[in-house]
């Protein structure tokens, strides 16, 4: 069996302190890979992050060599990383966030999460657009394998870039230890929700119904449309509240404007970034979880919400539809009227559907990080030619 073992280096340098989205992917993938018997994992990290990665994957080798700041780190990836990979004698290197060492002597696998840098460049800081557009084009031509988190992303990659690499679609997983339909300890959800202030001295644990959105407040999430849709139905459901949980990305002022225009500031609760342990409690307690994103490479919160048994309202034609299918209530992206119709149906109680909930739980059960690691292993083996 030893001959079948693969030695893989995983670049974890781009993961921020409070990881969401692509950062969460790298953390969960590293954890799942570190538990595989057929893989020797070498994590390449920033020095500052040593203790964090030791917690994630205590058994795996950790090399802390990368500089802190992004421009320096990207230069380091090109100039210094190839020699490090040689020294570590890895079979394959994986860049989990678009970039790769272009002159590495070992086969490289790159994850391309989405094509928003091409499709909607105005959603990103200008300095990032050219950098990542170029990185994606390079990956498509020079990586041995490109991993995409959805077929939707793989299709868009083919639309925008000349591809010489093999493309492997590996759906993300959901951490079923955290995201499940029942709380582990009775009363713990209420305890967690009581830490979320809900205005006028109250908290989310006071039993009034709420709709939940979890995600960074950034243009692609289209939270303003959610606020407008909520405004249209709020009069018929005077108790209902809308929780927008997530850090403010750039462009969050559009959310502020929409909330101000709604006149419902007291019923729209914005706790900011909420901790890992609060999110499952939110999903389990919400009347429905609404994820109105215009564009996602995968859209993990929708899957996490399904794993908690929550009714999910999300957008059609998206990666979320690819994963959730008929286990979610689908509305056209950006369509306030359709979204308010969906909110009305869940708030009025007609949106609850045990069969749909079960389909969601079944889909979540298949989407473990171990299953995602299996697909990644296929990508690594293909890249290594073994």
């Amino acid at each position: 069996m030893a001959a079948d073992r693969l030695r893989l280096s995983l670049d974890v340098t781009a993961v921020p302190a409070n990881p969401v989205g692509a950062g969460q992917y790298t953390v969960q993938l590293a954890r799942a890979l570190s538990q595989r018997p057929d893989l020797d994992l070498v994590m390449v990290a920033r020095s500052r992050d040593r203790s964090r990665w030791t917690t994630v994957a205590p058994e795996s080798k950790l090399v802390t060599a990368a500089p802190e700041r992004r421009p320096l780190r990207l230069a380091w990836e090109q100039v210094r990383l190839p020699a490090l990979l040689k020294q570590q004698a890895v079979d394959v290197h994986h860049g989990p966030h678009y970039t790769m060492p272009e002159h590495a002597k070992v086969p490289v696998v790159v994850t391309v999460h989405d094509l928003s840098f091409f499709v909607e460049p105005q959603w990103h800081e200008r300095s990032k657009v050219l950098l990542f557009q170029r990185a994606i084009k390079v990956a498509a031509r020079r990586a041995r394998v490109v991993v995409c988190p959805s077929q939707a992303t793989a299709d868009e990659l083919a639309r925008w870039c000349q591809i010489d690499a093999d493309v492997v679609v590996a759906h993300h997983g959901v951490d079923l230890d955290r995201f499940g339909p029942t709380e582990r300890v009775p009363g713990s959800d209420a305890a967690r929700l009581s830490t979320v202030p809900a205005g006028r001295g109250g908290s989310l644990a006071d039993g009034t119904p709420f709709l939940a959105f979890v995600g960074t407040l950034e243009p692609r999430k289209d939270v303003p449309t959610l606020v407008r849709a909520f405004t249209q139905v709020a009069g018929r459901h005077p108790d209902a509240r809308l929780v927008l949980a997530g850090g403010a990305g750039w462009g969050a002022s559009k959310v502020e404007e929409a909330v101000a225009a709604s006149g419902l500031g007291h019923r729209i609760i914005r706790p900011g970034y909420v901790g890992d342990e609060v999110i499952p409690a939110l999903f389990r307690s919400a009347v429905a979880v609404v994820y109105p994103a215009l564009y996602e490479g995968f859209g993990l919160p929708a899957l996490e919400a399904m794993a908690c048994g929550a009714p999910v309202v999300t957008t059609s034609g998206s990666a979320m539809e690819e994963v959730a299918g008929d286990a979610a209530i689908l509305v056209r992206p950006g369509d306030t009227v359709a979204l308010s119709g969906a909110l009305e149906s869940v708030l009025a109680g007609s949106g609850s559907d045990p069969d749909r909930t079960q389909r969601g739980l079944d889909i979540a059960a298949r989407h473990t990080w171990a299953a995602s690691a299996d697909r990644h292993m296929e990508a690594y083996r293909r890249a290594a030619g073994k």
Binding site: V119, E120, A158, R159, W160, P333, G334
Partner: protein, 373 residues
Amino acid sequence: MTPTRVLMVVEQLRRATPGGIGTYARGLLKGLGELGPGEMPEVELLASRPRRRQPDQEDPMAGLAYPVRNSVLPGPLLTRAWDRGVLRAPTGFDVIHAVSLATLEPGSAGLVSTIHDLLWRRLPDAYPPRGRAWHEAALRRALRRADQFIVTSDPVASDLAGAGADPDAITVIPMGCDHLPPPDLEAGASLLQRIGVHGPFLLSVGTLEPRKNLHRLTDAYQRIRGSLPEPWPLVLVGPGGWGEQVRSGPGVVLAGMVTPGELSALYSMTQVLAYVPLIEGFGLPPVEAMVFGTPVVASPLPSTAGAAFEVDPHDTGSIADGLLTVATDTAVRSRLKLAGRHRAGELKWSTIARRHVLVWDAAASRNGGRHGG
């Protein structure tokens, strides 16, 4: 069950300028290639004798992943032989699928004919007289010969039923739009440089012929040119057609024919795609542009399904307003980008190919019944 054996008549793919029907044939073949092994019928292609070419010219049908049956006859003679029924379809197939009005006697096979439009009837002045006569005769032959019809939109289905086709034998299947290669940005940039376009521009794509209404488009452009943030040029892409040509004017730049990679690049680089034909069976360029999230100003068309900013093609003022709004209003632009990408996602050639297979199955079984098996 053995997969249906299908012979696709794809004479358009032999031509130097395959046009919209060529795009349809190629897209359909691409979509078929993406189907699973169990879903995939056996497909062969039929076309005329390959032309003699210069050594550096590639046969446009080379590289298709399907067996090709080349006739001994060159294109024009072959079509005439089909028209008159002198030459029948080769035997050994369950279904013959003519991708255009040029049908042939199917022998014992079922015949499927795709009718892209009957616009020569609706807008006779937009067609040269000889073309009208051929289209009319070809339609009569298709009505006589075909077991099943495929049309790309509801209006064409009504026109075809009005012309005498059995409504139950008509299936509406839209065109796909995911057939262009990735943008060749380098080639696109050097093309723009060659025609003197620097910075942002507006784009229109299509054969330069009267039906495309280009004189109203250019008039509308002249009206709003001064109101744009800068006098952005209007780039017109497409082969020369017939009849009155484009009125050139300040800022109007003819790019002629471009390669598919250049076309993708232009779609992805332009501020706006304007496409305002008087009438169209489907209207492919708008949805090709939507693949790249480009905002579109268009006449009411079957292809766009509300995802374009609609203007009245008979009203220069309406076109002008549409152009200016979509070029400059960021809220409108982002709404159109979103709606466009959503629409483009609905029009995948693999989905469209799957729907063709159902029609082929119907034609094979229906024909088997009618001819007594």
